[in-house]
């Protein structure tokens, strides 16, 4: 007769008793991993090599850090640079760097590393997508291992802000060339695995330098789901814990009713603007551009395009940006006044124009709403579908072959693009250029914001592009999850403060 292990059932029964008595203690393990859903997979993992915002949304603050960083309110904070001093003339920045920082491959971070990073970004062969940030840097010197001296050719009031960007994160010479696939940074996480087309997994570093900012999460996964229906199903079924930027506003309202989900509508830096080709008639006449702007009821447009989520803007600036001025009242919705202005400009019977429209749904819907509004003042708008980015970059951005176009400009504080003579708007105004130069070279922060105010007012007045709305950040996540950013002062998914509340 086989021997029966009599002890086992007893043990099992005991275990069940204990489990029943202390359900929390035995059964509930503290959750320390999170799965975040994103619509677009990053192209590479090196934000200093390519522009797509998804790169920064995965890596910035998680894997890479900068000399400075931007916090959730959009303010510049110290990071790898502990502190700095700026010379009276605004031309010399002396950074004191932290001495306890190492990259995830074990290499120490020093002033030499910082010098390497900045010289690489501004160098001849640099493919940094924001190379212009570094244009005013004359020289970078590692005075000693903890001191970095940056000398400028002209005062650059935004320098500390630019240095906080994904494009300016600190990289280490030995791994810089392979960061695109195997990213190495000083951040709290490192790459565990990238399953291309599906997911990117990060794990917490044990040797992270900043004890105050040590993440609660042991690991995090970014999953890529382009389809909004699939996103909704994944968050409902719990396969994904958070979707910081939900893709479809019309499905979002239904998620707002789910008890175990938190929904937060925040702001982004994405300015949806309908750019006009100022190089050609009749768009070279400010009166025509103003008339087009006055024909559009921005609130109704947001209702039609984005189920009412989003905030109207009157210039190329968002409420997140420092020094924002609300200029939506400069050219308010007034079709009668728009018609008078068109007649004054020599178009009493209106005219026809085309809008080159990327395939993104916000762009298509906006173009359709614009079509209806412009028809009211006798202007016929023909919608020309134009694939983004390839065809759009080629036709609109490079060859300036368009009347009107529509795109969401993602870069924070990019109002300076209107001062570029070769930019697609074809906008030229010495007063505007002067305001931008004054803002960018101001050493006094107040002065800088005041000049940005001037620049905003000039654009609102002259309307080189129709300023429509700021894209909302439709966040949805598990109600037990805390610490995700509600607004997006810079495109990112900083997971440092994310934790489970139970």
């Amino acid at each position: 007769m086989p021997i029966r292990p009599a002890g086992l059932p007893v043990l099992a029964a005991l275990a069940m008793l204990v489990a029943a008595a202390f359900p929390g203690a035995v059964l509930a393990q503290p959750r320390d991993t999170v799965t975040v859903g994103m619509a677009i997979e990053p192209a590479g993992l090196d934000p200093t090599a390519a522009a797509p915002v998804a790169i920064g949304q995965v890596t910035w603050q998680n894997i890479y850090e900068g000399l400075t960083r931007i916090d959730r309110d959009g303010a510049v904070q110290p990071q790898l640079a502990r502190e700095w001093s700026i010379s009276e003339d605004g031309l010399t920045y002396v950074f004191t760097l932290r001495d306890d920082v190492s990259f995830s491959n074990g290499v120490a971070f020093t002033a030499e590393t910082a010098k390497f990073t900045l010289d690489r970004a501004r160098g001849e062969a640099s493919t940094n997508p924001q190379k212009q940030f570094f244009a005013t840097i004359l020289s970078v010197e590692a005075t000693d291992p903890q001191t970095l001296t940056v000398t400028l050719s002209q005062p650059t009031g935004n320098l500390l802000y630019w240095l906080a960007w994904p494009a300016a994160v600190m990289v280490e010479p030995g791994s810089a060339a392979t960061n695109n696939v195997r990213p190495v940074g000083t951040g709290p996480f490192e790459l565990a695995e990238w399953r291309q087309g599906d997911r990117i997994e990060l794990r917490r570093r044990d040797d992270y330098w900043n004890p105050d900012d040590r993440p609660a999460l042991a690991a995090a996964t970014f999953r890529f789901l382009a389809d909004p229906q699939a996103q909704a199903a994944a968050i409902r079924s719990g396969d994904i814990d958070a979707i910081p930027e939900f893709a479809a506003p019309e499905l979002y309202a239904a998620l707002e009713d789910e008890a175990d989900l938190t929904t937060v509508v925040g702001n982004t830096e994405l300015k949806v603007v309908a750019g006009l080709n100022g190089r050609k008639a009749p768009f070279d006449d400010p009166r025509v551009r103003q008339a087009l702007m006055m024909a559009v009821d921005r609130n109704a447009l947001i209702e039609g395009v984005h189920a009412g989520y989003g905030e109207p803007i009157g210039s190329h600036y968002t409420p997140n940006d420092p020094g924002y001025v609300d200029l939506t009242a400069v050219h308010p919705y007034d079709p009668a006044a728009a018609k008078r202005l068109l007649a004054e400009a020599g178009y009493p019977d209106g005219f026809s124009l085309s809008i080159k429209t990327p395939q993104m749904s916000y762009a298509i819907r906006s173009a359709e709403v614009l079509q209806a509004f412009l028809a009211e003042i006798g202007v016929t708008l023909e919608i020309v579908p134009t694939e983004f980015p390839a065809r759009w970059v080629d036709e609109v951005f490079t060859r300036h072959d368009f009347d009107m176009t529509i795109v969401a400009h993602a870069e924070p504080l990019d109002i300076g693009i209107y001062a570029r003579p070769d930019y697609y708007f074809g906008y030229a105004n010495p007063a505007f250029d002067a305001a931008i130069v004054a803002a960018e070279t101001a050493t006094d922060p107040e002065e800088r914001l005041a000049r940005y105010g001037d620049a905003q007012r000039i654009l609102a007045d002259e309307v080189p592009a129709l300023y429509l709305f700021v894209m909302p950040k439709l966040g949805v996540w598990n109600a037990a999850l805390t610490g995700l950013w509600e607004n997006e002062p810079i495109p990112s998914n900083d997971l440092t403060d994310v934790a489970w509340s139970n």
Binding site: A125, S126, G197, D198, A226, Q229, E387, P389
Partner: protein, 315 residues
């Protein structure tokens, strides 16, 4: 028969070469400079020039073609511009999802469609025929991504018994991997099965009116025996052709379903490479897909020889 196979093989190779040239030329005339796309809307001319140099886009067309084909022949399929990893590995990873998915879907489709189609044809006009054609009609009208959404809604969101999407990878175990592929396979199979049911039904009906079936019946075979021994084998030719077409569609055209289920398959790789203007990945994927289509067609042709004795005799 061997000579015929040899001829077909030679034709296959010639087609592949022609396809590779066409693929390369088509990629080159696509609008959009890959470097400009990588650098985005704040690109500066000097940065653009530096990146073009780094990517080798300044090289003349014939040189780039030679480099690509030369590499492919020696097993080097290049490096993805988007991901920075070898394309060969990337494609293998995707095939590890797409091939099992396509096989599951096609098996399911055949298992559903053949019996239904034969049943409908053999009892033409009966309740079974009306029911089968009705279901097939509805199935043809349902797009597979919509079926997919429906399946997610029922089995993932409401019942919570299946994953809503994503692919855990084969290293997570056979069970989870197959579970992840089941709903997408069903979504792909249902509309395909509907088409196949109709094809099978009409093919069997056609054959039932042929002289040889009448002869078989005159010889004294029962209706059932005539159906299975003579009608069905002969009706298989058009059915196999459609299965071949469906298989190639499942490899290349399952993009929408892959999208709905968030599956990293070959179709989504192709679309993403197109959007990012990742030329080398596009070239390799299109070449692979063309090869698959040509090879499947070749196999379908061979299966004719097996299925139809008349063709064998003339070959």
């Amino acid at each position: 028969m061997l000579r015929m196979i040899a001829w077909r093989l030679a034709g296959l190779l010639a087609t592949l070469l022609a396809v590779s040239v066409v693929v390369f030329l088509v990629m080159d005339v696509l609008p959009g400079d890959p470097a400009a796309i990588m650098l985005g809307t704040s690109a500066r001319p000097d940065t653009l020039a530096a990146l073009r140099l780094e990517l080798g886009l300044d090289q003349p067309l014939p040189l780039r073609f030679a480099a690509w084909i030369g590499g492919a022949l020696t097993g080097d399929f290049g490096t993805s511009r988007t991901y920075g990893v070898p394309v060969a590995g990337l494609i293998l990873d995707r095939l590890a999802v797409t091939l099992p998915l396509a096989l599951m879907a096609i098996t399911l489709s055949v298992v559903l469609a053949l019996p239904l189609g034969i049943l409908a044809a053999s009892r033409r006009g009966s309740f079974w025929d009306v029911a089968a054609t009705g279901v097939a009609q509805a199935g043809v009208a349902m797009p597979n991504f919509w079926v997919g959404l429906l399946l997610i809604l029922v089995f993932a969101s409401t019942l919570g018994i299946m994953p809503s999407g994503g692919f855990p990878g084969w290293d997570a175990g056979i069970g989870p991997a197959l579970a992840a592929l089941t709903l997408p396979a069903v979504a792909l199979a249902l509309p395909q099965a509907a088409v196949l049911t109709r094809v099978t039904r009409s093919a069997v009906l056609d054959v039932l009116h042929e002289d040889f079936v009448r002869t078989a019946r005159a010889k004294g075979l029962t209706k059932r025996a005539a159906l299975w021994r003579h009608a069905v084998p002969n009706a298989l030719l058009p059915v196999v052709t459609v299965i071949g077409l469906q298989f190639t569609f499942l490899i290349a055209g399952a993009v929408l379903v892959e999208n709905v289920f968030g599956l990293p398959g070959l179709g989504s790789l192709a679309v993403q490479a197109l959007q990012q203007r990742d030329l080398i990945v596009m070239q390799d994927v299109v070449l692979l897909l063309a090869t698959l289509v040509i090879v499947v067609n070749f196999l379908v042709d061979l299966s004719y020889l097996v299925l139809d004795p008349r063709l064998r005799a003339s070959a």
